[in-house]
């Protein structure tokens, strides 16, 4: 006889149907086993030395900085965009929605090239920036952030939109009848209610930004300390030193797990 498992507050957690477990385990394995392979392949004796080179430390720091800034930008720009997609009734919404998804479909290198065409020294916007402010966007840290934001934003937008639709707008309606302006309702009701979706979305965006390679190298270039994020270093390294690349991939993986577990632990203690 199946046993109901007790959970906090005395509420029973419903049992998951057993046919769910088999594919769940297969799916998990599909992801976890190759990653475990990475761990196995790592050259542990030299691990410390491999990951504490100047270049590796620079890249790690830059990756964390740009990843967090990009995630913040995604939140800042992507949350409103998700709201528009989920809650407005603009004409042509399905088309807008699929345009937002394009950075996902574009091979990242092509994405980087499109950014370069636009913001490069001879691009329509890049030229203005260059002529007026003397700024060259490519080859700079801001370029890394732009590239990461470009590729990561759709993740936030799409998963937040899904959560907004699932949540519905009944609480927002209640807020309106209590006199809350749309902005207040957004801040004090909508956002807290869809917090799980917002967190999922941010985690996705952060992970994607952290792992971003193609668009960055195509648009921002690859210079230690300025634009060389960890994935770029890993890729370049993998060309002649696979052990070093594997070791650094592991660092990337560990950093990602740490940041995500930290975020999620906060979430779990919050509101359902």
């Amino acid at each position: 006889m199946t046993r109901a498992r007790p959970a906090r507050g005395g509420a029973v957690t419903l049992a998951l149907p057993w046919p769910v477990w088999v594919p769940a385990i297969v799916g998990f394995g599909l992801i976890a086993v190759p990653v475990a392979g990475l761990v196995v392949r790592t050259d542990w004796p030299d691990f410390g030395a491999l990951i504490t080179t100047d270049a590796a430390l620079d890249a790690l720091l830059l990756s964390l900085q740009t990843g967090l800034i990009s995630t913040a930008l995604c939140l800042l720009l992507g949350t409103p965009l998700a709201l528009v997609l989920a809650r407005s009734n603009l004409p042509g919404l399905p088309v807008l929605r699929s345009i937002v998804l394009l950075p996902l479909v574009l091979p990242p290198v092509v994405g980087g090239l499109t950014l370069l065409f636009l913001l490069g020294r001879t691009g329509p916007i890049g030229q203005l920036a260059n002529d007026w402010f003397g700024i060259t966007i490519p080859f700079s840290t801001p370029a890394v952030i732009i590239a990461q934001t470009f590729v990561a934003m759709p993740f936030l937008v799409v998963s937040l939109e899904g959560a907004l639709r699932t949540a519905g707008e009944r609480y927002e309606i209640v807020a309106a009848t209590l006199g809350a302006s749309p902005l207040t309702a957004l801040r004090r009701v909508t956002i807290p209610v869809v917090l799980p979706g917002l967190i999922s979305g941010s985690v996705l965006a952060f992970a994607r930004a952290l792992g971003e390679f193609g668009a960055t190298i195509a648009f921002a270039g690859n210079l230690q300390g300025t634009t060389q994020t960890l994935p770029l270093l890993i890729y370049i390294q993998s060309q002649n030193d696979l052990d070093g690349a594997v070791a650094m991939s592991l660092v990337l993986v560990v950093v990602a797990v740490l940041v995500i577990v930290a975020t999620r632990t906060r979430d779990a203690s919050g509101v359902r």
């Binding site: 009944r170 609480y171 309106a176 009848t177 006199g179 809350a180 207040t184 009701v189 807290p192």
Partner: protein
């Protein structure tokens, strides 16, 4: 105003004076919630003109539709829908905060309202940790805390236990009396209407079948629905220690159903079924024994309703009172219109409710 929802059409027109309380009655699915939703700005009517204190809220002809949050119309909907991420206190403080009051002020107001509805000790709970009736009380507190220009309440007393319902009703009455809060109240309980409302609107299938002052509609219901819920005897006057004093000085003995101070306007209410009819004044426990001249006999299903006119020399307010008796009792009594009879009502059957104006 006309509002369509799928195949259902609501088509009503009425006015509410500032400070007035109007009760909306009607069977399930008659359009009561749709009416409230339209007033609150949650449904776009097909064709409507809604004004509130000089402001046009909706005018489909002119293309005006003020958004819900700018209407200053508060709505307590049929489902409590407390914000799940906020404590009871923060839920109640939400409205005052939106109205621009300070955090401290809002929390103080919230605490006060929660105490009013009897859940002051649950202020720090999340909605998930409240029982159904507790959640409903918090929702009422939240709606009251907004103090909007027009308050819409959709079945506020459902889910409340036998003690809470009158208590919360008293709170609402106090608020309405003290602040002149204009209110539209949907209810299935006619006592709510008697205690709180100046006027009744009865809806059936999306249309108004009856409206008018509470006492009038209840005393002489013209629609089938109103007749079923109402048909009460009402006597207006001022509250006294013994019950109620009518304008002509007679005392109607009764029990105060809720707090009412002597001298306050009040109404004595009793069901026609509680009225015993006698040929001679009866001795015994019934405290109210009133001379009445039988004006009419109205068969009402299984019972016959005897309608009184004032008897010569008797209190004038007896005019219009009804007594329900079984046909067998009537046969034994042998009463005919024009006969002088005595209506006897026990004091314990007479509920004295406070009355507005």
């Amino acid at each position: 105003m006309t509002t369509r929802r799928g195949g259902f059409t609501l088509d009503v027109s009425f006015e509410v004076a500032p400070g007035e309380v109007v009760a909306v009655l009607g069977p399930n699915g008659s359009g009561k919630s749709t009416l409230l939703g339209t007033l609150a700005g949650l449904y776009t009517p097909e064709d409507a003109r809604i004004t509130l204190g000089g402001r046009v809220l909706t005018d489909t002809a002119a293309g005006v539709g003020v958004p819900a949050h700018q209407r200053r119309v508060g709505l307590l909907s049929q489902q409590a829908l407390l914000f799940p991420h906020l404590t009871a206190r923060d839920n109640v403080a939400f409205g005052p905060r939106c109205a621009g009051r300070s955090r401290r002020e809002s929390l103080a107001a919230a605490r006060e309202r929660l105490v009013d509805v009897g859940v002051g000790d649950l202020a720090d709970r999340r909605p998930a940790a409240l029982s159904g009736g507790q959640a409903q009380r918090v929702a009422i507190a939240r709606a009251l805390a907004v103090e909007p220009e027009l308050l819409l309440l959709d079945e506020p007393f459902a889910a409340l236990d036998v003690d809470a319902a009158p208590a919360v009703r008293s709170v609402l009455r106090r608020l309405v009396r003290d602040t002149g809060q204009t209110t539209l109240l949907v209810t299935h309980d006619v006592v709510d209407a008697v205690v709180l409302a100046d006027r009744l609107v009865v809806l059936t299938e999306g249309g108004v079948v009856e409206q008018g002052p509470t006492a009038e509609v209840l005393a002489r219901p013209r629609s089938a629905f109103a007749a079923r819920i109402a048909g009460l005897d009402l006597v207006a006057g001022t509250a006294s220690d013994a019950g109620l004093t009518t304008p002509d000085g007679t005392t109607v003995f009764g029990l105060a159903s809720e707090q009412v101070a002597p001298g306050e306007p009040a109404v004595a209410v009793f069901p026609p079924s509680a009225v015993a009819v006698h040929r001679k004044p009866p001795e015994g426990s019934p405290r109210n024994v009133l001379p009445a001249r039988l004006a009419a006999l109205e068969p009402q299903g299984e019972v016959v309703r005897l309608r009184a006119a004032a008897a010569p020399g008797g209190p004038p307010w007896v005019d219009g009172l009804a007594a329900d008796v079984t046909p067998a009792a009537l046969a034994e009594l042998g009463a005919e219109p024009g006969d002088d009879l005595w209506f006897a009502v026990k004091a314990t059957e007479v509920a004295v409710h406070p009355r507005r104006r």
